[in-house]
Amino acid sequence: MTFREYFELLFTDYTLGTITLGTAVLGAVCGMLGSFAVLRKQSLLGDAISHAALPGIAIAFLITGTKDSNILLIGALVSGLIGTFWIRGIITKTHLKTDTALGLILSLFFGFGMLLLTFIQKQPNANQAGLDKYLFGQAATLVISDVVLMLIVTSVSLVILLLFWKEFKILLFDADYTKTLGFNTKAIDVMITFFIVLAIVIGLQTVGVVLMSAMLLAPAAAARQWTNSLSVMLFLAAIFGMFSGVFGTAISASQDNLSTGPVIVLVAAVFVLVSFVFSPGRGLLFREIRFRQNRRDLKLKKTLQLMYDIAKTHENISHPHAIMILNDFQGFTRGTLRKLEERQWIEVSQKSWMLTEKGFKEASNLFSKNPSNDSATD
């Protein structure tokens, strides 16, 4: 299937439309809520929670015997929350550090979940197949009711987000201050955590346990590079997440043998990479350019300083000097001279140069703290 066929199918084929809509909504809600995880330095909490959800799915199946995804998701939610609070208990009550606590809960819960899954597989119950789709995720199994559930979760979390926007924001950036203002920080904290867990749980079916954390992190990490405003970041993260979902589904649908989850994650990774390199404020590319510009500027001013030192000994600052005498100074080239001339700091004629009024002023201000000129801005 080519891309064009894909887009034709998108609006005619019901299943494909559902899947695309599902991954788009999922990407958006994960990006939005993931921003909080990233900013609260809880990036890997998502990884731990998604693994910790597995035993909940298995137990929910063992108890009810149905494969209804809503019931399984409730099981996942409960065990994800237990995992989260146990992590918190380990961190606050013992001297084990965050990374150890996360790694512990992640691997121990997942191992227990595997034990239960293999136990279920051996049971004489024809209904059990398909539980392992939660391991790696199968977007293809999305049905319209799943998408509706995602939409409900998205809109509820959006409403809560808008209602408690001020509280969430202040807790993110200054938890102690929030407490002194009399907000119930614990309640706000639990609320944010609950929504993060919820987002993870509804994503399990689509991208699976292993890759869920990337769904949460990547759009938010990419969005962070473009802005310093929380609301813009949330919005951007939602957009990035949505496009990762849509493009990922498109690519995996147009090729054979490509599972959707990994492709979505890779598309999101591309977003991150592009943001890391090309974002104007923080990106690596512009940072390097600024760095070089500064260095060149500094070299230029070093030459100017030398000229100033020479010119200063004469009564007339515009007294011409031979270019030759600059030869002792290593930083000078024809290019530098030309640049200095462009800025009208010096005038060059044949074999001599002379400092202009402007250049003299610039040089004498080089080391003063408040430069009174405009040339520092370029």
Partner: protein, 386 residues
Amino acid sequence: MTQPQIEIQLIAAVVAVACAIPGVFLVLRKMALISDAISHSILPGIVLGFFITHDLNSPLLIALAALTGVITVVLVEWIQKTGLVKEDTAIGLVFPALFSIGVILIAKNANDVHLDVDAVLLGELAFAPFDRLSYFGMDMGPKSLWIMGIILLVSLILLFTFYKELKVSTFDAGLSAAMGISPLLMHYGLMSISSVTVVGAFDAVGAILVVALMIAPAAAAYLITSDLKKMLLLSVGIGIFSAISGYWVANLLDASISGSMTTMLAFVFLIVYLFAPRKGLIAVLYRQKQQRTEVSLITFLLHLNNHSDVNERHINHLQEHINWQRVRSQTVLDLAERNNMIQIESDVVSLTEKGKEFTDLALEYIITNKDEKIEHMKDDFFLFRG
């Protein structure tokens, strides 16, 4: 026990020991999650290695996969260094991307690769004894036992050779650099050993259990002791115990061996987490309660010291004055009386000589505010703790 059964337990135990040793250092260096990242991101390395060698146990494959593990660490550190995202985000970005590449590589070549993502992630110990190494037609035992045995041997040799260096660079990187022991070298050495161990073990027990085997025994041991040697020994012991008991649980339930080994680890950790002396949850909660009472006691004694008026020292008055609940006041009064710090005559409380002395010292402590002093004082004066 049949021979495969013994062999499975032997492999499990060897894997557990091989994982526990680097695990201790990862936990101490606050890098436990690196093991999780490595265990996932070696997947593309394994797949590429498998394309080349077509043998899951080939040394080339292990080397290639371990290299991917080290590359993961380098990538994570590079992203951290750019300062664009916070530290843990860097880990969370790198390994899912590499894992996805691995999954896609497998999926695209599904027809000519006998490699399953499930197998990499979950492993199947039950099949390990059937993949045997033969040397000139002689049966030398299961391949994975040999591989893990060699890895274990190498890491043991390295541990004994560089024990001192590892110890100092783990606890004080600055000091170790000043002593001429490169912390960077130790760091990458440890990362390489961890990668090799993860790669060697994934085939037998799966990537996730490797993480559990690395972190859980070390974390449990860390709750019991603060001595590095004891911690190493304890985590090795916990690893072996969970490996062997896990095998029998799996036998009983007819379920995944690696899953039940992890469950046993979880069980052991839970027990230690709850009951560890001094650092376990119950001990911590008990100590917090004790300290709360003792702080109340000091407050109470200071109050007595400040008021010589009989009215102020009447038992009923105290309750409303300091605003404690009835039970709390009773506890504090009892504690003070048992320690001979107060005497109660016709419902009026007054300080004894000893109580006065303690209060003066406590006051001095509060003024100078040196934390370590108060515990000594408590040891000197208290017959009974709160």
